[in-house]
């Protein structure tokens, strides 16, 4: 994986359980891949139940290790969701800016989380696929187009096919104002992102990290030097996440945030 420089002065480190929810094909997995790998890889394994990934995020005062549960998108897996958002401290509720129904679904997830998840959960509403709109994509330009289209959106590559064709025009169907108003009403963090171009992706996670109240952090866990450094990895060849050596305490710089 990416950055693994030795930290001279280990900051207080804590882990945060984060769950991704949202309608199928809004790009949940792509967002996580962008955040964790800062890259796109072909998603070799379909998400059964949920995929687990970790990534560190370094703030000026502390290090946050995100334990990310990326849930399966198919509708019927929704009834498994409570298993994954149990004890979650943060949630990313993702919708697709080109698909109004996905915002409706996102609202349902927000309501579900507000009622059922742990109190004080930090929820971020994320409108993905900004690259398909006029105002998106320009920020990060469009680098290496063929690379993007090859493995761009991972598991959702198939259904985004049409989207790519339309990317020249403005496919936006959910206005920023509408979503933002809703987010303000519900006091959610709000971002519009593009997992394809990387726009705003890291910002989302940084904002979440900042929004987690100090008090709710489990500081006893994940501190550098403890026995807990073997990070989850999906498999040997597909190293989306840091695969640390056992008992080799390597504090890692987080993402570029």
């Amino acid at each position: 994986m990416s950055e693994s420089a030795g930290a001279n002065a280990p900051k207080p480190s804590s882990s945060v359980k984060l769950v991704l929810l949202g309608e199928a094909a809004v790009g949940k997995s792509s967002l996580v891949l962008r955040f964790v790998n800062n890259d796109f890889q072909e998603n070799k394994e379909p998400t059964i139940g949920a995929a687990f990934l970790t990534q560190k995020c370094t703030l000026p005062t502390r290090t946050i290790k995100f334990e990310i549960w990326d849930t399966a998108g198919q509708e019927r897996f929704a009834s498994l969701a409570p298993m994954y958002y149990r004890n979650a401290q943060a949630a990313l509720v993702v919708y697709d800016v080109t698909k109004p129904s996905s915002l409706t679904k996102a609202k349902h997830w927000v309501a579900e989380l507000q009622r059922q998840a742990s109190p004080g959960i930090v929820i971020a509403l994320v409108g993905n696929k900004l690259d398909l709109t006029n105002d998106g994509g320009d920020a990060s330009a469009a680098p290496e187009p063929e690379n993007e289209s090859a493995g761009a959106d991972g598991d959702e590559a198939a259904e985004e096919g049409e989207g790519h064709d339309a990317s020249s025009g403005n496919a936006r169907k959910v206005s920023t104002r509408e979503a933002n108003t809703y987010a303000e009403e519900e006091s959610l963090l709000f971002f519009e992102t593009s997992a394809k171009t990387g726009t705003n992706v890291v910002d989302v996670f940084t904002a979440i990290a900042n929004a987690i109240p100090e008090s709710s952090l489990k500081t006893g866990r994940g501190a550098a030097g403890s026995g807990q450094t073997a990070l989850g990895a999906r498999s040997g060849d597909d190293s989306r996440v840091n695969l640390g050596e056992r008992n080799a305490a390597t504090a890692k710089e987080g993402c570029a945030c």
Partner: protein, 1128 residues
């Protein structure tokens, strides 16, 4: 229950390793004996246990045994098995697991196979033969009184080519039992064989697809792998034939395994005619050879029998739905490229195409499941070893039997098995369990994919397939055993983990090193050679041998309710949130109540329907087996939300049930048993539930309810969904606005949608008002008004109304309502309509002005027939024709032009409003009673009330009124009009008597109105015919008939129920049934005649020519010993 859990606890404390759950004495789950029978022998749902008898199975020794080779003796300790012989419609099964499915047998006798099976799976040693593959049955003469049968099968004879050294398969069965019992069994077998003969063609085609057939036909002492010269290409044994099978064939000892299987087949039959001996199960344990894997999976899981039954189903399904689209297909398409992408076959269009077709075909045959992610992985794995058709039937076996509920729309089976798994871990590995809990690691998030994708996604493929080999033979318990073993083997490392991440990573690395030596540093080379996977298998099946099928069944039963409840509460939250803006007018509690009641009603209703349906089937002598071989099991518990796709729409009858649970007025007045659907029901002697159902509140059936139903539904054909009901209730209860409620009520009766309600409608409204109020107002209406309003009620009744109740006054209000409606109604003639429209507004105000003093007018209806002098309303200017008619009629008793059918009139919404608002009680009715009569969360469930006390004690009944009894409607109508019984309160009846009287009055009043109308109509007709007869008797008859019809038609349907059409319907149904039965008799007779002509080779005591002569040279002693080694 508590005792057994105590025992469990004690046992796990004493020796967690040998933890064993006491054999289940289940009283809370009781699957039918037939379904247990099908489970044991993996038979299709169409099969039922018909006959059974204790028997010995004697297998002739192969002649090579004389050579006296050691390993053979090890492999085949004996050729005589004692067990039980079963017969179903199409199968004869023998098992050494002594089970019994007789109606008299105990549960433990029927569930015997769910205990420890020592690696043989539920069906043990023996055979499961389709009757179609029995060629001949002989009764053997024997010196002793042993009743012996010899079965000769089609084994190896279906191919045109004769195999060299072929010996027909012959099984000797010695029945143990009375001569009578033996004869009975044989008779039944005879019948079955005749039927079975028809399926020999199916058998031939299915068998020819079997690789075993190819293997034996081409064997001829040549190497198996290079069969090229045969004209017939080898049968499809999966994508592996094109893209290689996973793993190193040499390392897997594929060739040796193939030779062993070849030998086994020669001695014990192949595919349909296979006999299971201990070697069979051992050969499965050590891993199946590539080319036979699919076939053995089919045989051991029972999907082979599904394919045998309908060999063309797969192709036909594909053809039938060719080109059609569905949601499932879209979802399948998304996942095709990520199903075992590492296998070369699934990087090609060939593999992807097969996967697409199998998943699509299944989604069509089982639309309830459709497609669920993870099925793609499982099917992809199957397709490496099986043909498309084989994979299709295996998938259906998985979804219906082996993994029930796993892939359903709620995935309750998956969640349930996770709960079961967690509880097993807690019991068998308490220390680890506590550590996981302490570390806040939820085991199921890790283990869920193991179960959902059968380890295919977790372990390297070669090992996952080894697990599958055993899984198909032994059933779902294998998944649990392997899961527990994984945790046990990694126990120490897992005790070090702190969070989800490290937990996952420990297991990931374990899975990636399954092929390494389990004891790399051991001195003993034999020990060193044992791989981690072998170690895992030993731990799974030895250490956790106590985890049996019954353990799983018991645990599932234990956790089922909790799991379903959590799914249902999730579904409830979700769907209440999805109800949209209209629903916001109701409180969340109200919505919750509606939701619960809606689905509870649907569920109950469906259970009820199912029982009725079952009863009907039973009456058809259940001659017909289930036609479709696939699809959800017939006896599944349907309709519960948590179990997957449940009905989402209620029909009118279910809606009545819903209303009866919501509003008092919707409860029928007749006690249980007289309504149409309880008719078929009362004859049921089913489970306890039927009693509950029969004792529940019976919903009424009133025209008002039908109107409500039509009003609420978006599509009356489809029924009401939750959204419809919520919207309907939200409009009624959502805003405390009287105008809204009045408008709504008016709308209900505005049939033409033009803002007008005609005469009929006015009468119906009044009927509805009486219907709705007949159980009192629950204190929502208080009368402050003087008696003025009631002046229309007859003098005779005035005497009784000294103690005026609200209910009585309301009756007066309704009476006044009708009068005023007619008074202020507009004529419906087109020419007048124009005028009415022009000055409609002024007219209304005028009316309102004049209305203030309208109270002291005479009532329209006077029971004592003293209203000849009724003045005609000023608005009703009559056309010439009708005035003439009216003049004719003026001599008769009905002079009221408002009742003149020839003089159509209507009221508009403003008029309706005005009339309602003019009366305090009606105003209160619409303001508070009507909306509040729909009880949601603010009121205990009426059903609970009805259950706690008997129906009659807390609800008004009409049992004391003749008119409520369907049988004597005519008489009752006449009596009530004559006013003979109306006002009499039997002593001691108290309030209820009073209420009954009021309702009787209502009936009388409405009947009277009808009567007048009918008479007027008759007068008209008579006049038109120019006949001036005035026969009183005739009149009376007509009148009776007329009023009876009126009662049945509308007014009294709340009292008398829907009896009108009913007897007829019941009669028709009976006739149908008779017809069916008749047809059945005929067809059975026909069949008997036909079959007696058939020449069934059976009972001919012809000595068989060759019991032996088999010459097997290909015997690999070395490998056999290896097999044993593998196993240890």
């Amino acid at each position: 229950m508590s005792w057994s859990s105590f025992v469990q606890k004690a046992q796990s404390l004493i020796d967690p390793a040998n933890f064993n759950i006491p054999s289940l004495s289940s009283d809370n789950h009781n699957p039918s004996k037939a379904s247990l029978f099908r489970q044991q022998f993996r038979l299709p749902d169409s099969q039922n246990p018909l006959q059974e008898i204790t028997a010995d199975l004697v297998l002739p020794l192969p002649n090579t045994a004389s050579s006296g080779e050691g390993p053979r003796k090890v492999n085949r300790p004996g050729n005589r098995y004692t067990g039980r012989l079963h017969l179903s419609e199409r199968f004869i099964c023998f098992s050494t697991q002594p089970t019994s499915f007789l109606p008299s047998s105990t549960l433990s006798a029927s569930t015997n196979f769910t205990g420890q099976t020592h690696g043989t799976g539920p069906s043990g040693n023996g055979f499961t033969l389709p009757l179609s593959c029995i060629r001949r049955v002989e009764r053997l003469h024997s010196a002793s009184h042993v009743f012996s049968l010899a079965l000769t099968t089609w084994n190896g004879l279906l191919n045109k080519q004769q195999e060299p050294n072929f010996v027909p398969q012959r099984l000797i069965l010695q029945l143990v039992g009375s001569r009578q019992a033996c004869e009975r069994f044989c008779d039944c077998l005879k019948k079955g064989l005749r039927e079975g003969m028809k399926e020999v063609d199916n058998l031939r085609s299915v068998v020819s697809d079997c690789y075993s057939e190819y293997l034996l036909s081409g064997a001829r002492g040549k190497p198996l792998e290079e069969q090229g010269e045969n004209a017939r290409p080898p049968p499809d044994a999966g994508l592996g034939m094109l893209f290689r099978y996973p793993g190193d064939a040499r390392k897997l000892r594929d060739r040796s395994k193939m030779r062993l299987w070849g030998e086994y087949f020669r001695e014990n039959g192949r595919n349909a005619t296979l006999v299971r001996q201990p070697t069979f199960h051992k050969l499965i344990r050590v891993g199946l050879p590539n080319r036979l894997r699919g076939e053995i999976w089919e045989l051991s899981s029972g999907s082979f029998f599904l394919r045998l039954r309908s060999p063309k189903l797969y192709q036909e399904t594909l053809a039938q739905f060719q080109g059609q689209e569905s949601l499932a297909i879209d979802e399948i398409e998304k996942d095709l490229n990520r199903s075992l992408p590492e296998y070369p076959g699934f990087q090609s269009e060939e593999g992807i195409g097969r996967l697409r077709r199998v998943l699509t075909a299944y989604s069509w045959t089982n639309a309830e499941i459709g497609y669920c992610q993870a099925m793609n992985i499982v099917v992809a794995a199957l397709l490496i070893y099986t043909s498309e058709s084989q994979a299709f039937f295996l998938l259906s076996m998985l979804c219906d039997r082996l993994l029930p509920g796993y892939y359903s729309t709620t995935m309750y089976g998956t969640l349930l098995d996770q709960k079961v798994f967690e509880s097993l871990v807690e019991k068998t590995m308490p220390v680890l369990w506590e550590h996981l809990a302490k570390s806040d690691v939820q085991l199921s998030v890790v283990s869920l994919p193991w179960f959902l994708s059968l380890y295919i996604n977790s372990m390297p493929l070669v090992f996952a397939f080894r697990v599958l080999d055993v899984f198909f033979l032994e059933g779902p318990k294998v998944l649990f055993q392997v899961g527990l073993a994984i945790l046990r083997v990694n126990g120490e490392e897992l005790l070090d983990i702190q969070d989800d991440g490290s937990f996952i990573s420990v297991l990931k690395s374990y899975f990636s090193r399954l092929d390494e030596s389990a004891h790399p540093r051991s001195e003993n080379p034999k020990l060193r050679a044992i791989t981690r996977f072998q170690e895992l298998m030993v731990v799974a099946f030895k250490e956790f041998s106590g985890i049996t099928h019954s353990t799983i069944v018991e645990q599932r039963e234990k956790h089922k309710d909790a799991v379903l409840e959590s799914i249902e509460s999730f579904a409830k939250r979700t769907s209440i949130r999805n109800l949209g803006p209209e629903s916001k007018r109701l409180s969340v509690d109200d919505l919750g109540t509606i939701y619960d009641r809606f689905y509870d009603t649907l569920y109950q209703w469906q259970q009820h329907q199912r029982l009725v349906e079952e009863e009907r089937k039973r009456q058809e002598k259940k001659k017909s087996e289930r036609l479709s071989t696939l699809g959800p099991p017939a006896n599944a518990e349907m309709g519960r939300v948590g179990l997957g796709p449940s009905p989402t729409h209620m029909d009118y009858d279910a809606f009545r049930e819903f209303l009866a649970a919501t509003s008092k007025w919707a409860v029928s007045d007749t006690p249980a048993g007289s309504r149409k659907d309880s008719q078929g029901y009362s004859s049921l002697r089913g489970p306890n539930k039927s009693l509950l159902w029969a004792n529940r509140r019976q919903p009424a059936d009133h025209e008002f309810m039908q109107r409500l139903y039509r009003k609420w539904s978006t599509d009356p054909e489809e029924g009401l969904n939750l959204q419809n009901v919520v919207n309907g209730l939200a409009r009624l209860k959502g805003s405390p606005d009287i105008m809204n409620n009045i408008n709504y009520f008016f709308d209900l009766y505005d049939d033409s949608g033009n803002g007008q309600v005609d005469r009929e409608g006015i009468l119906k409204i009044s009927e509805a008002l009486l219907f709705l109020s007949r159980r009192g107002f629950e204190g929502t209406i208080t009368a402050t008004q003087s008696l003025e309003d009631l002046n229309g009620i007859s003098d005779r009744e005035h005497a009784e109304q000294n103690r005026l109740t609200v209910d009585e006054r309301f009756l007066g209000s309704v009476s006044a309502f009708i009068r005023r409606c007619f008074e202020y109604a507009d004529p419906s003639h087109p020419e007048n309509q124009k005028a009415a429209k022009q000055d409609g507004a002024t007219e209304v105000t005028e009316k309102l002005d004049s209305f203030a003093i309208g109270d002291d007018e005479e009532d329209l209806i006077d029971v004592d027939d003293n209203k000849e002098n009724k003045s005609s309303p000023p608005e009703a200017s009559q056309p010439a024709a009708s005035t003439e008619a009216a003049r004719h009629r003026s001599t008769s008793e009905s002079a009221n032009p408002a009742l003149d059918p020839n003089n159509p009139l209507h009221i508009t919404l403003p008029t309706f409003r005005m009339v309602v608002l003019a009366d305090e009680l009606l105003e209160q009715f619409f303001e508070s009673y009507f909306p509040q009569s729909f009880h949601l969360s603010d009121y205990p469930h009426p059903a609970a009330l009805a259950a706690s006390s008997s129906l009659s004690s807390n609800l008004t009944t009409f049992s004391n009124i003749g008119s409520a009894k369907p049988s004597n409607v005519t008489a009752a109508g006449a009596v009530s009009v004559a006013g003979a019984s109306g006002g009499i309160v039997p002593p001691g009846k108290g309030l209820r008597g009073v209420l009954d009287n009021i309702v009787t009055d209502g009936i009388r009043m409405a009947a009277e109105v009808k009567k007048r109308m009918d008479e007027a109509q008759r007068d008209l007709e008579r006049n038109a015919l120019g006949r001036e007869e005035d026969d009183e008797e005739d009149d009376e008859d007509d009148f009776r008939r007329g009023s009876a019809a009126a009662m049945a038609g509308g007014i009294s349907s709340w009292g008398a129920g829907a009896y009108g059409a009913d007897p007829q319907r019941g009669g028709v149904r009976d006739a149908d049934r008779d017809l069916l039965e008749g047809a059945e008799v005929v067809s059975v007779r026909g069949k008997d005649e036909a079959s007696s002509l058939l020449d069934v080779k059976e009972g001919a005591d012809k000595p068989d020519t060759g019991g032996n002569g088999n010459d097997i040279s290909a015997h690999d002693a070395e490998v056999v010993s290896k097999v044993v080694e593998f196993e240890s």
